[in-house]
Structure formats: C-alpha cells, structure tokens
Amino acid sequence: MFDLKGFGDQLLAGTMVTIELALASLVVGLCLAILAATARLSDNWFARNIALAYTSVIRGIPELLTVLIIYFGSATAIMAVARLFGYDEYIEISPFVAGVIALGLTFGAYASEVFRGAIIAIPKGQREAGLTIGMSPLKIFWRITLPQVWRLALPGLGNLFLVLLKDTALISVVGLHDLMRKTTEAVSYSKEPFLFYSAAAFIYLALTILTMVFIHFMEKRNSRWGDK
C-alpha cells in the first residue's frame, strides 16, 4: 500500500520497532514510577532519598545524554564487572535494551511525580476502610489505592507517554533500526528528504492519535464510577 519508492516495508519495520520500544519502555517506566512514588511517600528515610536522587538526576539531564550514558556506560560497566570474573571479551548491549532502560528510567522519573500526586489525592478514609476490615497494607495498595490512582493519573501518564513515543527517535543515534533511523537511511539512498521526513512525521502523528484515542477510551471506561 505504502510503496514509497520501495522503502515502504523498511519504514513499516522501523515503525514496529518504535512501537515495541515505546511499549516496553512504558512497562519498565510504570513499574519504576510506582516504586519511586511509593518510596517517596514511605516512612523509610533511605527509600525516600534513593527515590528522590533517582528522579532528580534523571529529570536533571537531557534525554539524549541519558541514552548515550546508558548505551556506552552500561557496556563499560558490565565489561568491568566481567573482567573481575576473568572474562575479557568485548561486550555490547543491544541498542534496543539500552533504549528500554534509558526511556524507562526517564518515563519512570517523570511519571513517579504523577503517581505521587494521585496517591496523595486519594482520601485517607479509603485506606482506613480497608484497614478496619483487616486487609494488609499491600492488599489495600493493590486493590483499593492503585485502581483509584489510575483514574487520577491517566491524563498525566497519557501526556508522558506521548513524549516517550517521540523520544524513541533518540535511540536511533545508538543504531537502533527504528522509524527515525529507517527514515534517515531512506533519505540518504533516495535523496528525497521531504518525502521521507513527511512520511515519518505522518506515522508519528498517526501513532499519537491512536494513543490519544486509547487514552480517551480508558478515561471513559474509568469514569463509569463517576466523580466523587
């Protein structure tokens, strides 16, 4: 359908990589965000400050730099550890894995603040109602707090996901064959920058609109239990 002078398949393959990267980073990022948010709100001094350091550092440096540090830095770090165990070969982590780590860390740092705000916004009586019937704090978190947190956090998380979706393009600098990289390749072979950059822009835009529709659907679904 999209032949695009023979590069259509390549762009499609790149788009798939972009989507995979975005979704994998989202999963990692959400886990980190929930962990960091609960750590920030915990009574434990150590947990609080680890989480604060994480969110401050990640939010304090440009995403591109995070990507480069993770990609080159983690390979060096892993090699240094491997050398301790007598393993001297050259080790490389895949751009995809580096991308998931870097984007997951970034998403997690920003999203943890969204979660923290949402958790604080839930009336403490909700938790108390769970306590009075004998539920454990962990069960209360999973069954009472978190489902309500989603509803409050969804608009903010959706916003951050749209940023994440486009940040995936940064991973092309370390050689991931994502949509951005495939586009650049197509441009250099075909010498038709306008066509291919426009095509890439259109695809990113389409993904964004799809995401927005999905978020809207989720918000609709959550609103069934109304405003309270």
Binding site: E128, I133, G134, W225
Partner: protein, 256 residues
Amino acid sequence: MPENSVICLKNIHKSFGDLKVLKGIDLQAHEHDVISIIGSSGSGKSTFLRCINLLETPTEGEIWITGEKLKLARNKKGDLDASDPRQLAAMRARVGFVFQNFNLWPHKTLLENIIEGPTQVLGKSKDEAIAYAEQLLRRVGLEERKDFYPSQISGGQQQRVAITRTLAMDPQLILFDEPTSALDPELVGEVLGVMRDLAGEGRTMLIVTHEMQFAREVSNKVMFLHQGQVEEFGHPDQVFGNPTSERCREFISSVY
C-alpha cells in the same frame, strides 16, 4: 475481667504533640451492650473510638478484644503501635467500623464493596460471599441497587451499604463514628433505623453520636466525655435525666 468482655480498654491516653486529647479512659463492653459516647466536639470521642482498632495509635493504654490482649510496642513517634501486624489484622476483622463519611470504595460496585472483606480477608468463596451480601442488602432494602456504584446512590443509602459491608464480616463488635453527621437531615432516619434494628438483634455496639434522642432510646449505657476524660457514665435515663456532673448537665441541656 478483660477475658470475658467483648472489649476492654484500660487507661487510654492519646497526645498529638503537646496536646493531650485523651487522658486515661477506661471502657468495658459486654455482649449485647450498646454504648453511646457523647460529648462536645473536641472532647476526644472520635479519637477514642479510633484508638480501639488502632486507626489512631494511643500514647498509653491496654486494648483487649474478645478476651485477647492486643500486643503493643512503642513506635518512633512515641505512640503504641501493634507489634504483631497479623494479630492486629485478625482483631480488626472482628471489629466493624462505620465511618462518618462512609468511605465506600468508589471504583467498586455496592456488591463488590461488600464482598471485598469476606473474599479477601476471611477467605470465603465468591459465590458464598455474594449470596450473603445479597441477603444483607435485602435487609437494608438495597438489593436491586447492588450493581450501582457508590456515587450513584444517596448518602443515606451509602451509609446503609457501609454498615452492610461491616456486617458481611460478622463482627463481634461494631464501632460507629458519628454515622449520621455527614447526612442531610432527611436521610438521618433511615440510617438510625438500620442501627436500631442491629441493636434490637443484640449486636454489641459503640456509637459516637450527636443524636441524643437516639442514644437515649437505643443504648443501655452512655459515656459522656469532656476534655479527654470520662465525666459521666451510666444508664441513659440517669445520664440524660439526672446527670451528676455539672458539665454533663450543661451539655445535655444545650443539645437536648
């Protein structure tokens, strides 16, 4: 004897920083006791009720529930907290608590609110929990609303569901923390009606309330708190009709 009472509280103290809210309160409830706790706002009655199941951690005191002593240890803030979280959870499951603001879970339907404790805490099967929940909802006249969400029903109905949620745990004691204070006046009656039925069934209840007429009719004992201390305790006819304490007399005549 703490061993043969449903609940026994000894010398409960509670301070928030320098502010002493409770200054040594004792209370014992036996089976079928309905005890109303009255007093002006700031007298510490809600704090006292919340200390019973450790929603508020007392600064000093002993708590016995159904003959079992709650194990307490001092925490970092200097209050007493449960030293055995499992014991605390098990004891809380036996003590119902009805909140002023209902605190139903908005993301769950009424039925889901009610079966949460039985399935998640008591380990009942879902079918069994649902059958019991429907039976209890029928009693408060809300069975056909079971798939509604809390935001879709009135405050009085929400409180009736909150009471039902407590009953589904088959508690040995129910604590009511100003259960009608957040309701519009025309909705108070339906909630008091349900509570009156529970008292009539012989349930053991502790009720913090401003509904003096109700307290007088329903309870067999009344405790009047003033500035964190028990100022008057006795049969409702005596407390309301012939209080010995001057402060209690003033309070009664101002609200009743």
